[in-house]
Symmetry: C3
Subunit: 400 residues, 3 copies
């Protein structure tokens, strides 16, 4: 989630993308071969981290550069780093609720602006690292607000919260760096909990809905609806952006697919694991149907299955285990925080993934990718095969 | 609690044990002299860490090796590392409740198996380091379960919880290693709290009893019963294994005595300090009588009084201070977590001992034993005397 | 907040103070010029860290040395390090409530004595670092106690709590040192929360008043009283010592002014920012009037505006941002902890300042002063100008 900057020098976009497509994507062709009919060539060149785009954009107007940084920040939320994915996600959010789209946009911009003002490293800003936390904070503020849509005063806490995320990102990174850990969404989780605590449900200016524990007192009298359950699995991907309608959720999944098919696969798998975990301890049906049971599993599964660890059958199994662990921990946190009306956000996924990154067992640790070299799952996989084949043949990973 | 592996090469068990008895135990003879009548010779040779046994077992069938690793894991709960202590403790648990004995066994095995599967260091597994957390989790799941004994479905969360402990152990160790701290029972405390949060008291599959704060609203109308209070001190040692009957508790104390008389002495002292602390702030009588007030004190006192610090009058006084500190912190945690129906487990002892290990004051820090060289209190004491006498005469401590 | 020891060699007090006054204060004359009429010369020489006093006192009776260490400890609470400020503060506390004065004195002494007993570094003790946490603990115990003034039994937990602070200080410092962070008031915040948890409101021996969340359910029916609001800003400075009367609060502000005018300015600014933050989310009027909304802001503002960061327009702006951040976080913590009747103490300021010290953004990080070289804001400023002018012309900062 960090350090995807630098790299990818020279040439125009097309050339770079093309050779990149030839060089790396070919390596990782295996799992994606079925997705590569001739007509999709150009689309696939726009997948992955699109590092070539940065070179291309560097000589264009500042406004265009800003748009790219902004869209990278949007895609970072779902652990991608691809401006096109970001654009698709933004479209999905605007489709689901224009007000949420506006809030999210404001959040990313406020966060990026703060980063520039407090003098954060430019490379971090251009890579969109100072955006996704702010976006999540403002999106969640909108979702929990009981003042209705287009309550413009909400932009005030949204901007302040997004700015606070940047402070937290900047302050947490030296601590987590000691163990080569990403800051991930710790800032978002901290800020949103604090915001909801500051403005209790009955606040006169910024009222919000209280959250309920998922292990609920409410009777699960009705039969389980299988169709809704399956829908919940896909909504779990949308819930990463606090979006609970099917169409936009599928569009968000599509944006992930564009970035990396492996990642999209793990997102759905993780969401399914979360739903199973929820079933096993009889959580509220509403939580299963809305995808809230699944999104922590999806996040955890994506992180372990290919992003921070090279994809392999072992790391794939670990990814599924992580998804279950994330989901159970999320249920625990939801029951705990729900007693005082707070949501569990993505605390579970953030903490469990941090734990998995710290794991010393050789079964997983050998697949660990240093945070500074993390790219899209497919690129990670091909880097490793090349490295295994002839040691440091990949210029990208050595430069970074 | 870590690194008691390696060391002790050559010879058969009998020879090694004998010479070990001669070599090291003689040094530490002082405090235990009264316990060494002629008939107890053989018994005493089986005390301490029994490092010789590992050499002996290495060439025997795998099943026997597994039993030794398993029993070491059981004894680790009470900070011992002695298979015979482990066997006595297992007998005590089976005596108190066969179902608890089964649960504990399953917990240790699930935890060890997970460690092997995720590729943890073999030496850690053979030393039983990946067992005691799992055992505690499954024991506590059984104690809190309101579904009655022999509810076989409970083995499912018991196994998953024990496996999660191994993940946490593996993930926490690189963080704590920075300050040369042991992982101790952090994994157990985290997992059991999460389990109880996931399955709220009214869960349809895994119901459990809620916990009450110790600083209770219930009237302490009756007079204090001195006999029960004294009994509570000894029950405090059994409560380390969530066992609240006198006979098994005394057997567990006996197992500790077998490992190290110093440790057994501190266990009783710590439990008594905990009871005193409980009296001083008027906790529920039930908590004093059942030994729940004492077990955190006992754990803290054992750790500081001889295990992680060389025994001396100073570290002895610090051990008593630690016992009081542990007990007060435990009361605080119990009142805090009790408001949402959770038990305080051994959070207090774990955190306070971690604090004492970090202490920079020369009064205690000079007695600190590096985690990799921790052995039984008597062995620690003799190592230090030898080291003081002629610098590095003890081959064990230099090898490790 | 650490390491203000050593330094200041040679000469008698007068000479040293005089030359110090000439050498350093002259540099920083700008912001204080208006405060320096001829008659105030001697007074101003007693401002700052008074390092010369240590040399003077070293050859005097031990009782006098002890008094100086004690008074330094008292002044440390408000981030000063000046025995005269300490004396003024003690006078203010005795004026507000003699019993509180006695409790505070006992707290500092118990804490210092414990530090000597457990063998802490002598330089830390003489600099008063092992006093302020103990003082705050015993002051707060007195404020929350519902047993009335002159309840002598309270001295028992006050002493134990103050001693526990020293243990925590000693144990936390190696952890925080890794990132060059001060221990600050973490020990106080931990110990007071634990004490209030151990002795629930209805404790038979040590009863106390429960705290209310600030974002209150109680109707803010009445109009806002501007005079009381303004008074609340100044009470915010007194609330750092849990003092809520105007006279003593102004005296405490005077003590800060004596140590450093810059610090006093930031204390008032921070308190005002806290009051504004409280207004913006409609907290209870009582919390605004009593200064409770302001003191976290005051603490945060003082730390960032000149103490841990060299004073400049940038760090000044950061200080104001910190004050707002502290205040919002304090409201959040107060709402959170208030649900179980606990106060938020100064957790907010402590955590936010720790965050600001970790900030990597060049906008603030370039002004960061290493913890071992922190002195009064004016001295920090002059050190930096001298260092900028001719690189290491200031002998003090190089020696330390």
């Amino acid at each position: 989630m960090k350090g995807d900057h630098g790299a990818g020098e020279g040439g125009t976009q097309c050339t770079v993308l093309w050779t990149e497509g030839q060089g790396e994507k070919g390596q990782a062709g295996g799992p994606r071969a079925g997705l590569r009919p001739h007509a999709l060539w150009r689309l696939l060149d726009c997948s992955g981290d699109m590092v070539g785009l940065d070179t291309y954009v560097r000589e264009r107007p500042f406004a265009l550069q800003l748009v790219v940084w902004f869209l990278r920040g949007v895609s970072r939320v779902i652990l991608a780093n691809n401006p096109l994915s970001g654009a698709l996600i933004l479209a999905a959010l605007l489709w689901a609720s224009p007000w949420q789209g506006v809030l999210g946009t404001v959040g990313v911009l406020a966060s990026m602006l703060t980063a520039v003002l407090i003098g954060q490293d430019g490379a971090e800003v251009t890579a969109g690292l100072h955006g996704y936390n702010g976006m999540l904070v403002s999106l969640l503020m909108g979702v929990f607000s009981s003042a209705g849509d287009w309550y413009w005063w909400l932009l005030l806490p949204a901007c302040l919260g997004a700015a606070a995320c940047t402070f937290l990102y900047s302050g947490l990174s030296p601590v987590l760096d000691r163990w080569d850990l990403p800051v991930a969404v710790f800032p978002f989780n901290i800020v949103i909990v604090l915001y909801l605590l500051v403005t209790r449900p009955d606040n006169p200016y910024f009222p919000h809905y209280p959250s309920l524990p998922v292990g609920a007192l409410q009777a699960n009298a009705t039969e389980l609806n299988t169709a809704q359950l399956l829908q919940g699995i896909f909504l779990g991907v949308g819930q990463i952006f606090a979006c609970d309608s099917l169409g936009p959720s599928l569009l968000i999944l599509g944006a992930t697919l564009l970035y990396s098919p492996l990642q999209a696969l793990h997102a759905v798998l993780g969401s399914a694991a979360g739903t199973l975990a929820g079933l096993s301890v009889a959580v509220r049906h509403g939580s299963l149907y809305s995808g809230l049971s699944g999104f922590n599993g999806a996040l955890g599964c994506m992180c372990v299955g290919g992003l921070f660890f090279t994809f392999s059958w072992r790391s794939h199994l670990f990814a599924i285990a992580t998804a279950f662990l994330c989901s159970y921990v999320d249920i625990a946190f939801s029951n705990l925080l729900g007693t005082i009306g707070l949501p569990a956000c993505s605390w579970a996924a953030t903490l469990v993934v941090t734990l998995m990154l710290l794991l010393t067992g050789r079964g997983l640790a050998t697949y660990r990718i240093p945070i500074g070299q993390v790219r899209s799952p497919e690129h990670n996989l091909s880097s490793r095969s090349q490295w295994k084949a002839g040691n440091t043949l990949d210029p990208d990973s050595t430069v970074v």
